[in-house]
Amino acid sequence: METINKISWEIRNDIGIITLDNPPENYLFQPDFVPLETLKKWTSYDYLKGIMICGAGKHFSGGGKLENLFRMIRDKEDINKKMEKGKAVLEHIENLDIPVIAAIQGICFGGGLEIALASHIRICAENALFAFPEVNQGVIPGLGGTVRSYMKSGFPRAMKLILSGDMINAEDAQEMHLVDFVVNKHKVFDHSFTFLQKLTRDRPLTVINAVMKALKNARSLSMEEAMKEETRIFCELAVAEARRRNGSGNQ
């Protein structure tokens, strides 16, 4: 197990686990909650088939402490640069070509929610609570939370969530497509881990990477471009599989 800035990393079987490890609320120290270089190193093991992000103890994360951010501004730190670094970390997570699941229990606020939204699948406990409380201190989510919540929930519901700063429960979060699955509160970790294993255990990494790439294209390319890429990806897998079958046929 490795730890940096109260974020831990371990690998169990072929699943990497990132734990926001600053209990009880697992507050994040800075926008790039884990340095990009460290994250890249962690996620570069070529046998990894999936990643789970969770919080230590009862909560996922209360997000960043805004007082820290305001202090950085007072100390004339380049806050925009910091935020760009944070966004790069979340983009790295979102663009990984293995599935990333956020396993959420307790509070999932602000930057914590932004981390969850950058993951591919969100599984939460029935007692989970979600909010973008930034507005209460005169700011807005700044790590892509406005964009990603809008993409998931549509304009009216994203606007209500961000502008009100109000908390919503697991049921409402699922109703507005902010989370994908709601499970028993004692089972979030196990359920998410098992889910990820079942998703990937029978699949070679080439297939997992191909599917993740195609689904990334579905979000970022036009339909024509995404379809062309999908057919190209399919062809590459088909050639490999045809040769594999021919190979084994000759033996």
Partner: protein, 198 residues
């Protein structure tokens, strides 16, 4: 392979001739279709691709790019295209259905993109469509597992527009076609579903 060639030609004819008011796609007999014959498809691709020494593809074989072009043509038709789905609807058959403007299905219909279980992935826009209709988590789970899902699940995730008893599926598709062809415009898809299918 033969299917796609004939399908492409028929579609081209329909798009030019202007005498049809709606198109219903259904399967003969109990099922819609279980998609392509994988061994045949693999053989065809392996014989038609050009790869470099690292196994990287030089270009997509023409017969495959024609397939997805015909799906794009299907979607761009100015008449309503309705898939009426009974029984199994798997792989490229589901992709075909996803490029129709509307999908009606029988209660017992079964859907899936099982390609990953053959070490492949859907290749005709199935991942694109599933992701944009049902969201990343649903698409990721179904495609990676290759597992099937029910009519009820498909309806819940916006993949089909209406589920009916299978005995009345074809008449229901015809009724709907007659209603929607009066003033069909693809942008009004949601409106037609609300008006005629809910």
């Amino acid at each position: 392979m033969e299917f796609f060639r004939e399908f492409g030609e028929a579609l081209y004819f329909i798009s030019l001739c202007g005498e049809f008011h709606a198109l219903i796609i259904s399967g003969h007999g109990r099922h819609y279709s279980s998609g392509a014959d994988v061994p045949v498809l693999l053989k065809e691709i392996n014989e038609n691709v050009v790869t470099d020494e690292r196994g990287k593809l030089q270009h997509i074989p023409e017969f495959l790019s024609k397939n997805y072009e015909s799906f794009l043509l299907l979607e761009s038709l100015s008449i309503p295209v309705i898939s009426a789905i009974r029984g199994v609807c798997l792989g490229s058959a589901l992709e075909l259905a996803l490029f129709s403007h509307f999908r009606l299905c029988g209660e017992e219909a079964v859907f899936g993109l099982p390609e990953a279980s053959f070490n492949l992935a859907p290749g005709l826009g199935g991942m694109y469509k599933l992701c944009s209709m049902a969201g990343l988590a649903f698409a990721l789970e179904r495609v990676l597992k290759g597992s099937t899902f029910s009519a009820e699940d498909a309806l819940k995730h916006g993949i089909v527009d209406k589920v009916v008893p299978k005995k009345v599926l074809i008449p229901a598709a015809f009724d709907f076609a007659r209603q929607v062809m009066q003033d069909f415009r693809v942008e009004k898809r949601g409106l037609y579903i609300k008006k005629y299918l809910s």
